[in-house]
Symmetry: C2
Subunit: 376 residues, 2 copies
């Protein structure tokens, strides 16, 4: 039998740790006490077991629980259920890492485009990429399309909908997507570039399929989806069956405080098929640390089960002054998303966009020069 | 314009509270700083605003943010996005309550059966109801069906799949559902009762529709679904479009630590259409307080937007010794779910089930007698 090793962080008194670890192994597998498990097949092959217990003197402890691969049924929803179904309700337990066996991962295809696929579509082989957002919501489709045109005309690679844009009365999905896609096409004809507009899809499964169909008919080059919001199983199925362009995952409602961000945004979103993952950068509006951001980017891009690497997209209050630092920190396989800082003040959007794009090019050149100097 | 009042609990220094409240109103609406919002329609009708700030000397503060109803597009996923999309990533923010305007709630139908509908199907007009779970997973469909038969034969009202039962090799969904539904039918013919078997559905949207179809063909009388696991939008759509029997919501992966359980399990699951809601009872394997459990049950059953009341189903380590206390605590409109405590030791399942059912009847009689005495 094959097993999945699941690591949890536990906040508890040290002398309770062994008991908690054993309770967790049962809770996340058979959900009864061990003496109820009289069936030998279940006891040997299905019941979870404690693999490792790592007490800590300062801060939370760490335990590794081994869960039977067969319990997942190779289904996304059920896998999440096994990893963190009931124990998500335990305030003292946090899900921090998972080691899936190769035969499990082979059942899932991961990102279909990955970093290389996104680069090919953008005709940008090596440099760090730029991303901007259409907002605030409440603007008309025409106003959003104008923003989209200006951002693309001045060199932004991917112009995405704000994740707050849905199918609202003031910018209905079909109308907005048509207008913004026309705008990016016009900008591309003028610049000779291949910028991409990525609309945000949100809703129940049937609406998502309908929105994906509209986006495809309009010829959009990428999509934005929040897996935690629409449901990770719905995300995975939609991407596999109804989408053929790169998919950018947004962390909305990821409640990442209860699942370690490096796992959820770094690894699980990639497993589900995200070609790019937006996450809150350190030093912005969200409290992620440098270390967590480095782990997310590493999990996005590392060798893993033959999956295509996912493009890390740090965001959340980025400013132009940080471009050099962040290109240095993440390296060239990154896309920096600057949202509000481009838009304020609105009358200088074109100028600010050009500064952002130029700063990215300069940072890339600097970073390359530094690397060559270090190598010589 | 109509507004949604959203209450958040904030952990922060008191002198930062005003700033955090304003940042939250922007984060959860326009997602840019206020000076970027130059469009008068957006500023007046879309941008979130701070309605109340309640600092606290001990413990977390409370703020109420007012969000424009129009931003939801009357869509479940987008509504959750507006309530707690980005701010779920803020460790210092917890979503605790929502007041939707009546015109918003009127767009959603809530539970279709509710407590009365469940009672009619069970032919149980006033007494508290009993529920038991088929587990551990790993048992064959035949073994689970045998458990189902024994539990129903000895008087359990609703026998549900453990939420860990999916479409696994050892008890495939179609085979298990057929076997357990046959078992409950046989028990009902022998007892003259109308017990219900509720299989657990889990998977991506297409699999859920297929499973709902199988369940309907087999004639099952209720379904178990975990909205947080399959996605709240998928849950709502499935129930509205593919299910005609009562639906029991399970809290797996509800990560209720970041959204107040009284809101998520008490109110939002009801809004989404849950006819019954399982939640961790106080004093069991989970750390919910008496007060939180009372709030969940109250939110399930209170007058709200004309929605049918939802049946509260406390669970999670209940034992027979607590039946009297809990019937007294929750009143007769409750269903007690005893899982593992019935199953151990397995060779006395029938006897223990009869004791459980008899204890519930006695508790109801006691409770009635006490109420009559109090009234006389």
């Amino acid at each position: 039998m094959s097993w999945i090793d699941v690591t949890y962080r536990i906040c508890a008194a040290r002398d309770q740790l062994e008991g908690i670890a054993h309770a967790l192994a049962l809770e996340q597998s058979v959900e009864v006490s061990a003496e109820v498990v009289t069936d030998p097949f279940v006891a040997e092959n299905i019941m979870g077991r404690v693999a490792e217990v790592h007490p800590s003197d300062n801060g939370p402890h760490r335990v590794v629980i081994r869960l039977a691969m067969a319990t997942t049924g190779f289904d996304v929803a059920q896998t999440v259920n096994m990893l963190f179904g009931n124990s998500s309700l335990h305030a003292h337990v946090e899900l921090v890492d998972v080691e899936f066996p190769a035969e499990f991962l082979a059942r899932f295809s991961g990102p279909r485009h990955g970093i290389d696929g996104i680069r090919r579509r953008l005709q940008a082989t090596r440099r760090p990429l730029t991303c901007a957002a259409l907002k605030p919501q409440g603007l008309s489709s025409e106003a959003l399309a104008n923003l989209c045109y200006t951002l693309a005309l001045n060199g932004v690679d991917i112009v995405k909908d704000d994740h707050g844009l849905a199918d609202q009365s003031y910018s209905p999905f079909a109308k907005r997507v048509a207008a913004c896609q026309r705008a990016i096409g016009r900008a591309n004809r003028e610049t000779g570039r291949a910028s991409i507009y990525a609309p945000s899809l949100v809703g129940p499964p049937r609406a998502l399929v309908a929105q994906a169909h509209i986006a495809r008919q309009e010829g959009v080059g990428a999509l934005l989806l929040a897996p935690a919001l629409i449901g990770m199983p719905a995300f995975n199925e939609l991407v596999a069956e109804h989408v053929d362009v790169p998919v950018i995952a947004h962390p909305a409602y990821a409640g990442a405080v209860r699942v370690a961000p490096a796992l959820l945004l770094g690894r699980l979103f990639r497993w589900l098929g995200a070609d790019a993952v937006i996450f809150p950068n350190f030093g912005g509006r969200f409290a992620y640390s440098r270390e967590v951001c480095a782990q997310i980017a590493n999990n996005n891009r590392c060798d893993w089960a033959g999956y295509a690497p996912t493009l890390p997209v740090p965001a959340g209050g980025l400013t132009m002054g940080r471009v050099t630092e962040l290109v240095e920190f993440y390296g060239p396989d990154v896309m920096l998303l600057i949202g509000g800082a481009l838009l304020a003040p609105a009358d200088r959007l074109a100028e600010r966009t050009r500064i952002f794009v130029a700063a990215m090019e300069a940072a890339h050149a600097d970073s390359n020069a530094a690397r060559h100097a270090a190598l010589s």
